[in-house]
Amino acid sequence: MKLKSLLVGLGLLAGVATVQAADDPFKVGFVYVGPVGDLGWSYEHDRGRQELQEFFGDKVETTYVENVPEGADAQRVITQLAKAGNDLIFSTSFGFMNPTLKVAKRFPNVTFEHATGYKRSKNMGTYVLRTYEGRYVSGIAAGMLTESNTIGYIGSFPIPEVIRDINASYMAAKSVNPAVTMKIVWVNSWYDPGKETDAANALMDQGVDVLLQHTDSPAPLIAAEKRGARAIGQASDQSSFAPNAHVFSVRDDWAPYYIKVTQEVMDGTYEPKDFWGGFQEDMLSLASINDNLPKNVRAKIDETYDLINSGKFHPFTGPIKDNKGNIVVPEGHTLSDTELAQVNWYVEGITDEIPR
């Protein structure tokens, strides 16, 4: 991928060559793993950056580098951003964790924030979304909408975040539809529209009529629309791809966090933390809920959203058994954020095994 690196390098040159304003604005850099036009993960991070820029106006200057491969290139890009005088750098993919940490050690006066990781230092914090909250509401909708009592989940990689969300979806679906079963297919990619289409079709061939996805392309929604099934959008508002099939999209919104951290670093009150944001922090929302949903389904979606949003309900509250019969969350206990980051079991009722 020499050419890709070259393009990344050129993009970087273009990025850092922005003219410095007279009153020396606070500089914030962003590193994205995908193109900003992916209409998923990187797109939403860039929307956060734009809102940050709008919020602070002239006081802040933002730059971004897109399509940065995870690995050695990432370290070079982050170093460049630090050298270019950025005061705060957000690196937005799990694979940027070690590169960010290394650069953070070399530039103690720059603040680093890494999305979805677990390594922190005195000038590097982490932030992550409570995607399982959105999945729980998705599961409620899926469980009520399925007529075949079979829902499908397109998984990316069997990592704790995805496994946790599979569990949340299934527990929710089961709570409204005891007869529901869930089929899980892994595509080993965050973004492969061809493979995601195949997976969606393979699931629908086996009787699935509501699709959930943990991959970022709108391909499964397009496939569901073609065959009259339903699907729930991921990361950004994907309703335009499937006007009939689209139930709602669980949309990421990073802007509130980017604004908050930028303010803190400007004020000198910043402390590196392990930050989790969800409905309550307005970092997750249900976008474009379809008008064609039955009234009772719509009401239940709203009710579940309110319960989680108000903090009255947490999906991972015991007792919860795994699918081998062991108690994984005892009665009266709610999984802490640290425990949530380590979920490696399927909940009772999922007739499948986690691939190793």
């Binding site: 297919v185 080993n188 195949d198 393979a202 061939d205 699935v208």
Partner: protein, 310 residues
């Protein structure tokens, strides 16, 4: 597995195999004249992005196909000029073409990422599509699937039953002898390379116009390489290529279907298999002593310079 599921799986297998079929057919003809073009992935991606942009811009998927074929030919001409005219190494030039196409397609396509088009609608053949099972599996596809099969039949006929087929074979087996009896070796090779480019463009357009339909960077995900391996697996025989393409389509669908049925095979392992097979074939193809056993065209990969003949 009930009959409905089997029907659906076979239907999907044919769809998944179709882009491979386009590319493998084009590359087979190209290789039959002695030119090994490893740039399939790059030409395919360019076909996918230009096809999508043309269809998006004009609102007509037919223009998409046309655009994809033209850009495929332009890409193949770059390769042809370097390899046939300047005598550059075919393997290295082909690899360069793939890297170039991957980068360039991402660059020019960034504006249409996430856009949607209608693409081709399925075209059920009357009467035949009403046959139980077979009707659904074979006769309810979109027009591109039929086009691929039709092209395969025409190519098989031309390659095996016509004078043109003999010419192609002569050029690939012994370019010096072909040159001696007055065949313009380089012209035949240029045309074959361009034909391969147009077919790779079509294969790419199938991905972006029919299969998903959308454009994203690197969306072909290695299918060009699998098609290259397919040509070798099939011993350059058109009939085998058709079977092989659908068989591979079936394999890649089955690994998703089996997961849905609750088989706990590591998906990583299954997803890896076609690429492992590709690597093995690539190793074999580059070792001279196996070439004859596989019925490879004898001058495959070797440059030909008519000026040195005189």
């Amino acid at each position: 597995m009930d009959i409905d599921l089997i029907t659906q799986v076979l239907f999907a297998a044919i769809k998944t195999g179709t882009p491979l079929l386009f590319i493998a057919l084009g590359e087979a003809i190209c290789e039959k004249t002695g030119v090994l073009n490893l740039g399939q992935e790059g030409m395919m991606l360019m076909g996918a992005v230009v096809g999508f942009m043309a269809a998006y811009g004009t609102g007509n998927a037919g223009f998409g196909l046309l655009g994809a074929m033209i850009i495929g030919m332009v890409m193949s001409l770059i390769f042809g000029f370097l390899v046939l005219h300047l005598g550059a190494n075919q393997v290295a030039t082909g690899l360069a073409l793939t890297i170039f196409g991957t980068g360039l397609s991402a660059f020019i396509g960034s504006g249409v990422v996430g856009q949607t088009i209608t693409g081709f609608q399925p075209l059920s053949i009357p009467v035949l599509s009403d046959i139980p099972v077979l009707g659904k599996v074979l006769f309810s596809h979109d027009v591109m699937v039929y086009l691929a099969v039709l092209l395969a039949i025409i190519i098989a006929f031309v390659a095996n039953k016509t004078r043109l087929g003999l010419t192609i074979k002569a050029v690939g087996e012994n370019p010096n002898a072909a040159n001696a009896i007055g065949i313009k070796v380089l012209r035949v090779r240029y045309l074959a390379v361009m034909f391969g480019g147009a077919m790779a463009g079509l294969g790419g357009a199938y991905m972006s116009l029919v299969y998903t339909p959308m454009w994203v960077e690197n969306m072909t995900a290695g299918r060009g390489w699998i098609a290259l391996a397919l040509v070798v697996f099939a011993s350059w025989r058109i009939g085998n290529i058709v079977l092989g393409a659908y068989l591979f389509g079936l394999a890649s669908i089955m690994h998703l279907v089996l997961q849905g049925m609750g088989w706990s095979i590591s998906p990583n392992l299954l997803a890896m298999l076609p690429y492992v097979a590709t690597i093995i074939v690539m190793v074999i193809i580059s070792a001279d002593k196996y070439k004859e056993k596989l019925l490879a065209p004898r001058s495959l990969g070797k440059p030909f310079d008519p000026r040195q003949m005189a």
